[in-house]
Structure formats: structure tokens, C-alpha cells
């Protein structure tokens, strides 16, 4: 069955489709505002006329490469192409400015390929036992996962004050609560404005917070994109950068595992994995203090993790019929449309198609690595020469289109500009806009987890539900460690300095 599946996609036609889908996914992922979910959803109707193997291969290839594509804009213009690449920008862009953009792109590419391959291996060989983990996650676990995710803020402030970083995150949480409430269905923080009923669109706010301050920054400097002090660094060989990335095998291994675990949890996905892996790499690296200044590990870790969610997200989708990520949910729909019913029997009744689909994603993972390096490195070299007078308005144009395209809603463009201006002021005041985005992402997960857990606790008559479940205890432990670690390392560094 496995071999049959592999052979079914090794036809020139399907391989060509996979190649085109991979390139398309890369472009969509790199454009701010266009997400992997949107790309896969747009393509679903176009796969109706194809055979199930071809159609699903195209969707799988788009999924994998769109998640990776987000790193290009994050690294080159400090604007994450997808929410799953937010943490990539923290070190990727500073590397570009230092003239090390080629290393950053190669590092992100190798990391993405490794993360993608690892997650596919988990999907191939460990689907059934891993799928059961996703069923053990109830509302209290989601609440603590979101709280643990919020501790990533401790890594985001750079040299700024920790208090201000948490304040920025708190503002994000508060803004995420605008809209219709979970329990009563009332308009909360809406100021009687019906436009606020749908809440603040995350993608529009994220584009504003990341892109507009960058565009305004370019407006203030007449010249070329990066003020590169050592241009000779730009001409380093690609192979040496590949070797350098592979030496970070421990970081890639840990980030892959983080990506796989987060990926199998329904609703979590690449954004959270990207942030958690960055935070983990910062804490475990001997160069932790250099994170945020342009360090290869800071790019490799988040990029490995977000692609590791791809195969993992498909584990509960294919084996239990419970999608692990939003893109996996769209693929779940596509499976049904092609007459395949996800569940334990899928691998026996339609094994050839399912294995073909999984091999297609694996092939696309390698293809995106080759295409990414072939296209990304020259792209970096040309962008570095583009005058800022063209780059700034280009970023603004893409930001406008990107924020509008999410819901075809002009209000989202207004939201994007408002958040852009807020982000510019926040940066000047030392309030990290990245922390605000984290709050915006995790706020709804934390609140939904809290409300549902409270209802569960009331129903069971036991308030301790929040803290006594085994996975909750692990997550609480990780949260405490994550909060205490920066204080402990700072204390250790101070002690060393004194002695």
C-alpha cells in the first residue's frame, strides 16, 4: 500500500502540479496578509476536477510551502508573511541589516525542510499514539497552554524593560477581547460601534504593528534598504551556511519536537510553535543574550518549529477526523469532498491515496528547500540594493492589500493603519509591538479555555480541575520555569560580573 501510494504520485503530471503548487505556496506565504489557510481554501474548488491523489497532493504542497514562505518577508523586510513567522523576524531582519541575509535565508530554509521532514516522519510512523494526546487536551489544558505561550513575552523585550513588555502583551490581551463575548453574546469594549462586533482582525493588526513602523522607518532614511557595514559577508558560500545550520542540530531537534507537539493540538498551530521554539532556543542557547541582535539560532528554531506543525497537524486530522491546525481543517473538508472519510479506517480503505498525499507533501518539502535557496538568496541581494524611496511605499501598498484581502473589508485597512501608528509610538516608548501581537493571538484561546474550564469546574463541583490534571501540572511547571529562568540567568550573570 505504501509503495503503491508513492508510485501513484511519481508521474510527470503530478510532479509538475506539486512543483507549481510549491512555487505558488511560497509566493502566497511571502505576501503579508495571505495565509496558508487562505491559499489552500482558494485552491480547494480548483481541485474538484482533479483525481483525489492529484488534488490532495496540490493542497498538501501549498500547505507546506506557504508556511515556509512567510520567512522571506520576515527576514527581508521585517514583516512576517504569515502569523507563523513572527518570531523569525526578531533575528532574521537584524541579520539582513548586518549583511548576513543569505545565512538567515539558508538557515530558515534548512530549518523548515528539517522541521517538515521530521513532522512527516511522525505522521508516517507515529500517528495512532500521538493522535490520542490531542484527545487529552481539554479547556483547562488550553488555558494553561495559552498562559505558557504568554510567558514567551519575557524573551521579546530585547534590552527594554520586562514590565513594559508584559504591559504591551496585556494591551494585546485586552484588545483581543473586543467583540461579542463567549457566554452572554454581548458586545464587549465595542463603544456602541457595530463595526466592532467582529472584533479586531488579527492579521490586519499584525500587519499594521509590524509593517507600518518599518515603512515609516525607511521614510526617515534616504538611501538603500540595508546599511551594510561589511558587504563581504554577503558573498559567503551557500554550502558553508548550510553546514553552519546543520551544526545547530540540537536546536532543530528540539524545535521539531515542539512543532510536532503543538501541531497535533487542535487549534494551536504554527504561530504558537514558532514563538515557543524561539523562546526555548533563547533559553537553552549559550548565546541567549545575543538573541534579537541577529543570530542564526533565532531564525532556525522558529522556522523549524512552524514547518514541524504541518505533518503533525495532519495526524489528528487523518486518524481521528479532528483537525490540528486551521489549514488542516480546510484539508479535512477537501478530503470529504473527494469522498474520503478521515478516521482509523482511512489508511486501510483509501491507503493508496492517503500515502500518495503524504509522499507528495514530503516531495514538496524538499522542492521548497531547493526553490527557496535558489530564489531567496538572489532576492536578498537585489532587495539590499533597492532604494528606500521605492521600498517604503511598496510595503505600504502590500500592507493595504494584505489587510483588505483577509475579509474583503475596508475597515480592516483602517484598523491596520491605526495599529501601524500605535506600533510606531509603542516602539519609541519601549513597548514591544511583538508582545502585543502575542497577546492578540493568545487572548481568545486563554479566555475560551478559562470560561469553559470554569463551567466544567462548576458542573463537577471541583474548582481544582484547573490545576490537578496531569498535563495542566506539566504546563504550569513550564510556565513557572519560563518566568523564573530569565530572572535566574540575569542573577547568575550579575553574580559572575561581580566576582
Amino acid at each position: 500500500m505504501i509503495l503503491e501510494g508513492l508510485l501513484s504520485i511519481l508521474t510527470p503530471q503530478i510532479l509538475l502540479y506539486i512543483l507549481i503548487a510549491t512555487i505558488g505556496g511560497l509566493i502566497v506565504g511571502a505576501l503579508p496578509g495571505l495565509t496558508a489557510t487562505m491559499a489552500v481554501a482558494v485552491m480547494v474548488p480548483l481541485t474538484f476536477g482533479m483525481s483525489p491523489t492529484t488534488g490532495l497532493s496540490v493542497l498538501g504542497a501549498i500547505y507546506m510551502s506557504a508556511i515556509y514562505g512567510g520567512c522571506f518577508s520576515a527576514i527581508l523586510i521585517n514583516t512576517p508573511g504569515t502569523p507563523g513567522s513572527i518570531a523569525t523576524a526578531f533575528d532574521g531582519y537584524p541579520m539582513c541589516v548586518k549583511g548576513e541575509g543569505m545565512r538567515a535565508i539558508v538557515g530558515a530554509t534548512v530549518g523548515s525542510v528539517v522541521g517538515g521532514v521530521v513532522s512527516m516522519l511522525f505522521l508516517f510512523f507515529l500517528s495512532p499514539p500521538l493522535a490520542t494526546i490531542s484527545l487529552k487536551f481539554g479547556p483547562p489544558e488550553y488555558f494553561w497552554l495559552a498562559i505558557f505561550g504568554l510567558t514567551v513575552m519575557a524573551s521579546m523585550g530585547g534590552e527594554g524593560s520586562l514590565i513594559k513588555t508584559f504591559m504591551a502583551g496585556g494591551l494585546g490581551l485586552l484588545i483581543s477581547m473586543i467583540g461579542i463575548t463567549i457566554m452572554g453574546g454581548e458586545l464587549r469594549f465595542g463603544f456602541d460601534n457595530y463595526h466592532m462586533q467582529g472584533g479586531i482582525e488579527l492579521i490586519a493588526a499584525m500587519i499594521g504593528l509590524f509593517c507600518i513602523p518599518e515603512a515609516l522607518n525607511y521614510m526617515s532614511s534616504f538611501g538603500s534598504m540595508y546599511d551594510i557595514k561589511n558587504p563581504e559577508k554577503m558573498n559567503k558560500s551557500i554550502w558553508s551556511a548550510v553546514g553552519e545550520t546543520f551544526r545547530l542540530y540540537k536546536t532543530m531537534a528540539r524545535s521539531s519536537i515542539i512543532g510536532v507537539i503543538v501541531g497535533i493540538l487542535p487549534g494551536a498551530g504554527g504561530t504558537i510553535a514558532n514563538m515557543i521554539a524561539y523562546n526555548d532556543a533563547k533559553k537553552s542557547s549559550k548565546d541567549g543574550a545575543k538573541f534579537g541582535t541577529g543570530i542564526l539560532e533565532g531564525v532556525v528554531a522558529p522556522e523549524t518549529a512552524n514547518n514541524a506543525t504541518v505533518g503533525a497537524g495532519l495526524i489528528p486530522t487523518l486518524t481521528l477526523g479532528v483537525p490540528g491546525t486551521s489549514v488542516a481543517a480546510v484539508i479535512y473538508g477537501a478530503l470529504l469532498l473527494h469522498g474520503l472519510r478521515p478516521g482509523a479506517e482511512l489508511f486501510t480503505t483509501n491507503g493508496k491515496i492517503v500515502w500518495g498525499f503524504m509522499f507528495a507533501i514530503l516531495i514538496s518539502t524538499f522542492l521548497m528547500g531547493v526553490i527557496g535557496i535558489l530564489a531567496g538568496v538572489p532576492m536578498y541581494k537585489s532587495i539590499s540594493k533597492v532604494p528606500t524611496r521605492f521600498m517604503a511605499p511598496a510595503i505600504v501598498s502590500l500592507s493595504i492589500v494584505g489587510s483588505y484581502a483577509v475579509r474583503n473589508n475596508p475597515m480592516d485597512v483602517v484598523v491596520m493603519i491605526i495599529f501601524g501608528l500605535i506600533g510606531s509610538v509603542m516602539k519609541e516608548l519601549g513597548l514591544a509591538p511583538g508582545a502585543m501581537v502575542l497577546g492578540l493571538i493568545l487572548g481568545p484561546i486563554a479566555e475560551a479555555g478559562y470560561v469553559r474550564s470554569t463551567l466544567m469546574a462548576f458542573a463537577a463541583g471541583k474548582i481544582q480541575t484547573f490545576v490537578t490534571r496531569p498535563i495542566c501540572l506539566i504546563l504550569i511547571g513550564l510556565t513557572v520555569m519560563s518566568l523564573v529562568w530569565p530572572i535566574f540567568t540575569k542573577w547568575l550573570a550579575d553574580r559572575k560580573r561581580v566576582s
Binding site: S161, M167, S220, F390, V401, A405, E428, L429
Partner: protein, 153 residues
């Protein structure tokens, strides 16, 4: 002329405290208790953090000159043009507004002596090609209908 140093800790603390006050007032309009608890916790935490920062701003303040970039005037003008860009899209659509705003921004974002007719032509050309490509990609290929503007509807 960079301007004077500001106590950014105090400014940040006061702004966040004001935001907390506004959100707390808005919370009064919510009737379901369970919908109030989480935001209450966040607002109180934020207010406590702001209070700590406010105290710090008196004891060990962080002062700096904000918006220290080379061409501050250009940034202010750029921000105003961004707002105008968004407003005009509603009336004359994405394509025309964006080409015009792209050309204006790229023409003024250079030293005065370089703002020549030749530079203006290059700004319009680059703007038309780039915005045209974005328009074709989104509106025609990805089927995302971009705003046409109320004047042309």
C-alpha cells in the same frame, strides 16, 4: 535639533493607565459575570504593572528623545500621507490612489536637489508597474476584488 528628552516610562505608564480606565468603564456595560472575570484580571494586572512603572519613573526614570530618526519631518508627512491613502481608496479606488500615493511618496523621499522631473517620471513608472502587478495578482489571479472607489461605482 533633536528635541528634548522625555521620561518615556512615565508617558507609557500614564497612557496604559488611561487605557485601563476606559476599558474598566466599558466593562460596566457587561451583564454576564463569566464574561467579565478574565478582562477584569487583565485590566487589574495591567494597572498594577503601570503603577510599578509609574513609581519607577520617579525613582529611576528612563529618559530619551523620541523619534530621533534623521528626517523626522518626512516621517510625520509620511504618516499623514498613509492616512490620506486609506481615505482616498474609499473614493477613487485602490489602483489610482495607490499609483498616485506611491509616486508622491517615492518622489519626496529623497534629498531636495534630487527631486527633479526625471525622478518624478521614474516614481510614476515604478509605481504604475508595481501597483499594476499587485492589482493583477490579487484582483485577477487570486480573485480578491480590490476596492474600486465610490466615485467609479
Amino acid at each position: 535639533m533633536l528635541g528634548r528628552k522625555l521620561n518615556i516610562d512615565r508617558i507609557a505608564a500614564l497612557i496604559v493607565l488611561a487605557v485601563c480606565a476606559v476599558f474598566w468603564w466599558q466593562l460596566g456595560f457587561i451583564n454576564t459575570k463569566l464574561d467579565k472575570i478574565f478582562p477584569q484580571f487583565v485590566i487589574i494586572s495591567l494597572a498594577v504593572l503601570s503603577g510599578i512603572l509609574l513609581i519607577k519613573s520617579f525613582i529611576k526614570p528612563e529618559s530619551k528623545v523620541i523619534f530621533t530618526m534623521k528626517h523626522r519631518g518626512m516621517v510625520a508627512l509620511g504618516a499623514a500621507l498613509l492616512v490620506l491613502w486609506v481615505v482616498l481608496i474609499d473614493y477613487i479606488g485602490f489602483l489610482i490612489t495607490s499609483i498616485a500615493m506611491f509616486a508622491i511618496l517615492s518622489w519626496i523621499m529623497q534629498d531636495k536637489q534630487k527631486r527633479t522631473v526625471k525622478a518624478a517620471i521614474s516614481s510614476v513608472l515604478v509605481g504604475a508597474i508595481l501597483i499594476g502587478a499587485v492589482y493583477l495578482l490579487f484582483a485577477k489571479l487570486l480573485m480578491v476584488p480590490l476596492p474600486k472607489g465610490t466615485l467609479f461605482m
